[in-house]
């Protein structure tokens, strides 16, 4: 076989989805950890500092490129797979196939992924574009050391003062929960874990992970909207 076949074969495509998926799963932990600093309830000082650190070192800048690639590959490969797979049954069934043993969310990864993508576009427009390119429309914060840093916290507060934004974000987190619930354990199956004992543990960890991450993310806009953090 040619080395390229690895990426064009059906199994190779699964590997690409799984590897980028695991990478994004790890990223979400970092992302949620940083954002959780808003709950320090110190007017965003800690959060702004950490967010500044994440944008200031060259190592993280390089990682950011990797992250962006990870997102792109996962999204494109996922969409391509979804469309290719759909085409494999030109004539459909008259009675919809109903198999209750297979979970609805495992069969809806394309749909859930698309919902997450729509949410992401809005999310990038809200935060990533202003902080990287167009600038944040709030005065910079001056630290004790005299250093000036972006006030990302103020941007978060103003973004989450609108109810519809909060609702969209919560819906995005719900889609993410179902996507992760299947994706987490599916990734490990693709990476070759076949021992039933490990698979059971992975499934549990996957549930806990998806629940905590998505709840944490969903609570951020909610707590800002309701004024739980100042």
């Amino acid at each position: 076989m040619k080395w390229k076949d690895l990426f064009t074969s059906s199994v190779g495509k699964k590997w690409v989805m799984a590897l980028t998926g695991v990478f994004l799963i790890l990223f979400l932990i970092v992302h949620a950890g940083i954002n959780a600093c808003i709950w320090a309830n110190d007017g965003g000082v800690m959060f702004n500092k950490v967010a500044h650190f994440m944008g200031s070192t060259i190592v993280i800048r390089i990682l950011e490129v990797g992250l962006f690639l990870g997102f792109l590959i996962h999204i494109f490969q996922g969409l391509i797979l979804e469309f290719q797979n759909r085409k494999k049954r030109k004539t459909g069934y008259a009675v919809k196939i109903s198999i209750k043993e297979s979970t609805w969310y495992s069969r809806s990864m394309g749909l859930l992924g698309t919902l997450i993508l729509l949410f992401l576009i809005l999310h990038w427009k809200h935060f990533w574009v202003p902080s990287r390119f167009t600038g944040i429309p709030y005065p910079e914060v001056i630290l004790e050391s005299g250093k000036k840093i972006h006030n990302l916290y103020a941007l978060m507060q103003s973004t989450f003062s609108e109810l519809w934004v909060v609702i969209v974000y919560v819906l995005g987190c719900i889609s993410l929960f179902w996507h992760l619930l299947h994706g987490f354990q599916s990734a490990f199956r693709t990476l070759g874990v076949s021992h039933p004992g490990y698979l059971k543990i992975i499934q549990r960890i996957g549930f806990i992970y998806s629940f905590i991450i998505c709840l944490a993310f969903a609570m951020m806009p909610v707590s800002m909207y309701l004024g739980w953090v100042k």
Partner: protein, 254 residues
């Protein structure tokens, strides 16, 4: 179990040949015994059609005891019908009640074109097996069966995989029309045994390549296949295939 008779309405897919567009026809059958198998009920219906001078419904069957994998049909939205771990030929009419409407369709996948009515062409599976489902054996007098020791757990796992009858229900049930469960069973069946080691790497690479060439979709681990598999092949074999494939691909000499 109590015996009873029933009258049923059947909506069956009729298609003259591969190029025909096909449509559903409605039939009524009377006095069907709860003891009959689903295929026997079809036999009754076909007798009726022949007497009326009509074309009988074409459906695949051979052993009628759940071991050949020929009896492919989707009954009310489930390949092989409502019973768990069961083939259509082993589905009995006691699964239904008087007055039921039963919709019967062929397995649907581009890789399984309809030949006539409920009969589909599953020779794609044969070509996948030809691509790697074999082991090399020296010609000459038969080797002693017990000459190569096989660990019990490996033998059991290989046997469980070998139970796959190649019926294609996994493909029919899968939203991606993927043949991964079938291929993973075949790869594991030989790959777990010492006799299957020489071709272990080429087998998985070639069988997956053939599977892709035949136009089956890519697996997304939904587990629908495992649920309808009459032989209870576990999707854990798919995870095993994924691992075997990657090991083989990364160490492939060319």
């Amino acid at each position: 179990m109590e015996h009873y008779v029933m009258n049923l309405t059947l909506k069956v897919w009729r298609q003259k040949n591969t190029n025909d567009k096909g449509r559903f026809e409605t039939y009524h059958v009377k006095n069907i015994s709860s003891e009959m198998s689903f295929l026997e009920m079809f036999d009754v219906l076909n007798e009726q059609l022949i007497q009326e001078g009509k074309d009988p419904i074409a459906f695949d069957h051979d052993c009628r005891e759940g071991i050949c994998g020929m009896c492919s049909m989707v009954i009310n939205g489930r390949p092989h019908g409502p019973w768990h771990r069961n083939t259509t030929c082993q589905l009995h009419m006691r699964a239904f009640r008087d007055g039921d409407v039963i919709v019967v369709e062929p397995f649907r996948a581009n890789a399984f074109p309809v030949i006539k009515d409920l009969v589909v062409d599953r020779s794609a599976f044969d070509r996948i097996i030809q691509a790697g489902g074999y082991i090399s054996v020296n010609t000459g007098s038969a080797v002693d069966a017990n000459a190569i020791p096989v660990e019990k757990d490996k033998a059991d796992a290989a046997f469980a995989a070998a139970a796959c009858i190649g019926c294609g229900a996994c493909v029919a049930a899968c939203k991606n029309s993927s043949a991964m469960l079938f291929v993973s069973a075949k790869v594991a069946h030989l790959g777990l045994l010492p006799q299957g080691q020489p071709e272990r790497k080429t087998r998985v690479l070639n069988m997956v390549a053939q599977m892709d060439k035949e136009g089956f979709g890519a697996c997304t681990n939904t587990g629908a296949c495992e649920a309808v598999c009459p032989k209870g092949i576990s999707i854990d074999y798919i995870a095993r295939l994924n691992r075997d494939y990657m090991m083989a691909a990364l160490s492939s000499p060319e």
